[in-house]
């Protein structure tokens, strides 16, 4: 029974995301709110299931990463809406983004990750879990920047929201990297090592820095500003699901 439960959770969350997107597309804010809440609750059940079954927080892998990222993105969307109001473009892109994340995992093994003796270590847990948390923040920011590109009336509002989320995501991401460095130091004696993982992690940090250091002649172009704001979110999702 238990091996099938991740698959049931995955399809329930995907179903909610489809309904949420339909409600957002039909401009039904109340119904959208109901499906968003249901999605958050289903994801929460998934996160609790992971924590109870394996005695640790979600770390990586198609099931654990997708459910956790989608859960945090749901919470962030709910908070953003509460404070900043219903933003049509953001809501559409956010729901679409969530659905794409989930559908890209379709066909991959929906199961808990195999256990490893290092998963009892605090720094290992912080490194992997905070990386997923950062992915959720940066993906949420990507939908705000995407909304900022197409929305005309609430353009500055979404750009400001995107900037806030990007900086918060950077803090979470750097904390994850710091914990990862400590893990590396305790495991190999070096605070960092030359590897594919290191290069990809550095690219993500540099992409975040690029968004914060756009020269004025580029920053004036809202489209380039929006695209550069989206890149860290897209890159970290690629890094997590296709590393």
């Amino acid at each position: 029974m238990i091996p099938d439960l991740p698959l049931v959770i995955y399809w329930l969350v995907t179903g909610m995301a489809v309904l949420e997107l339909l409600a957002a597309g039909a401009h039904l804010p109340n119904l959208y709110g109901v499906f968003l809440t249901l999605r958050i609750c289903t994801c929460l059940a998934g996160v609790v299931f992971i924590a109870v079954c394996v005695g640790r927080p979600p770390l990586f892998g198609p099931f654990e990463a997708a459910i956790y990222i989608v859960f945090v993105m749901g919470v962030l969307a709910r908070v953003f809406q509460k404070n900043w109001g219903y933003q049509t473009a953001f809501v559409l892109f956010n729901s679409l983004g969530v659905l794409i994340i989930l559908l890209l995992q379709q066909g991959k093994p929906m199961a808990l990750n195999e256990d490893y003796f290092m998963y009892g270590n605090l720094w290992v847990n912080l490194f992997f879990n905070l990386r997923l948390l950062a992915a959720a923040f940066l993906a949420h920011g990507a939908s705000q920047y995407l909304g900022h590109m197409v929305e005309k009336e609430q353009r500055d509002l979404l750009s400001t929201g995107g900037r806030n989320t990007l900086l918060a995501g950077a803090c979470v991401y750097l904390t994850s990297e710091w914990a990862g460095s400590l893990w590396c130091l305790n495991w190999f004696g070096d605070s960092w090592q030359w590897s594919r993982g290191f290069f990809k992690a550095s690219i993500l940090f540099l992409l975040i820095m690029v968004v914060c250091h756009l020269p004025s002649f580029i920053n004036r172009n809202k489209r380039i500003q929006g695209i550069s704001g989206m890149l860290p979110g897209l890159f970290i999702l690629w890094m997590i699901f296709y590393h």
Binding site: Y119, L157, L174, N186
Partner: protein
């Protein structure tokens, strides 16, 4: 000149070039796996010397990366000491001082990254068995005892299959250990049980237990150690942590609320 060196445009282009170089690193580390593995095991100068003859391209890539990082370092330094310092001094605002401080910490962290690579000593994958000792600079490491309470067949399993067997149930990380003594000029500096993820630290010296091994027909149990001596590690972690904290505080105090943005729109 300083203004040009500290300009945002230079930052932007340097960052873009560094992203391409890091991307090339992903490609090189896949194409030249062995060379990159070796890069982690020896001092970087030795790696350059050894690699130049057989594969010059990764060396050229590495030197370009160093140049890019050096330009970013200079750029951050000029920007902080020029523009941000005067802005903070002129306005006196906490957020501007914090912004300046944040950039200074970034410079320190970037410098530490480079210096950790170039300074210090390192010996990788030193195999030791109980009763043996090993010299490391002025120090001597003596291995007295190795205790592995779990199933020894896990250690005999080929690496690819080993990972699946190394669960929290099968490997008791807190019980398996090696008893080490760190000696200098016949004087015992430290004597400690080291475990995986729990190394011996004495000042800037670190003795790290990478893995347990068995050898020979009599299943002799030993350990693989990485020996490092780098005084910058602690400072690096401290500066890095303060940088993250500063960024968090800066994000919090400059967090833009919807009312401000809406006001601007009106």
């Amino acid at each position: 000149m300083i203004q040009r060196l500290g300009s945002v445009t230079l930052t932007f282009y340097t960052l873009v070039v560094l992203i391409w170089l890091m991307g090339a690193g992903v490609f090189f580390s896949t194409a030249h796996g062995e060379i990159f593995l070796h890069m982690n095991e020896v001092h970087i100068c030795d790696w350059i010397m050894a690699t130049w003859e057989k594969a010059p391209l990764p060396v050229v890539w590495f030197l370009s990366l160093c140049l890019g990082a050096a330009i970013l370092f200079m750029n951050a330094l000029c920007c902080s000491m020029g523009r941000q310092w005067s802005l903070a001094k002129k306005s006196g605002l906490f957020k501007n001082w914090l912004f300046f401080f944040l950039h200074c910490l970034f410079i320190v962290v970037l410098a530490c990254h480079g210096l950790i690579l170039a300074l210090g000593e390192k010996q990788s994958r030193v195999h030791l068995f109980p009763g043996q000792d090993h010299s490391f600079g002025p120090y001597e490491i003596q291995l007295t005892d190795v205790v592995f309470t779990d199933d020894l067949t896990i250690l005999k399993t080929p690496k690819k299959r080993q990972r699946a067997l190394m669960t929290r149930k099968n490997i008791h990380i807190h019980e398996n250990h090696a008893l080490l003594t760190l000696v200098k000029n016949d004087h015992t500096l430290a004597r400690q049980k080291i475990r995986m993820l729990s190394p011996l630290r004495y000042k800037s010296v670190q003795v790290t237990l990478v893995e347990f091994v068995i050898q020979g027909a009599d299943d002799r149990l030993g350990v693989v150690l990485n020996l490092t001596d780098n005084f910058l590690n602690r400072f690096f972690f401290l500066a890095y942590a303060i940088m993250i904290l500063s960024l968090a505080v800066f994000t919090a105090i400059t967090w833009k609320r919807p009312s401000c943005t809406m006001g601007k729109q009106r």
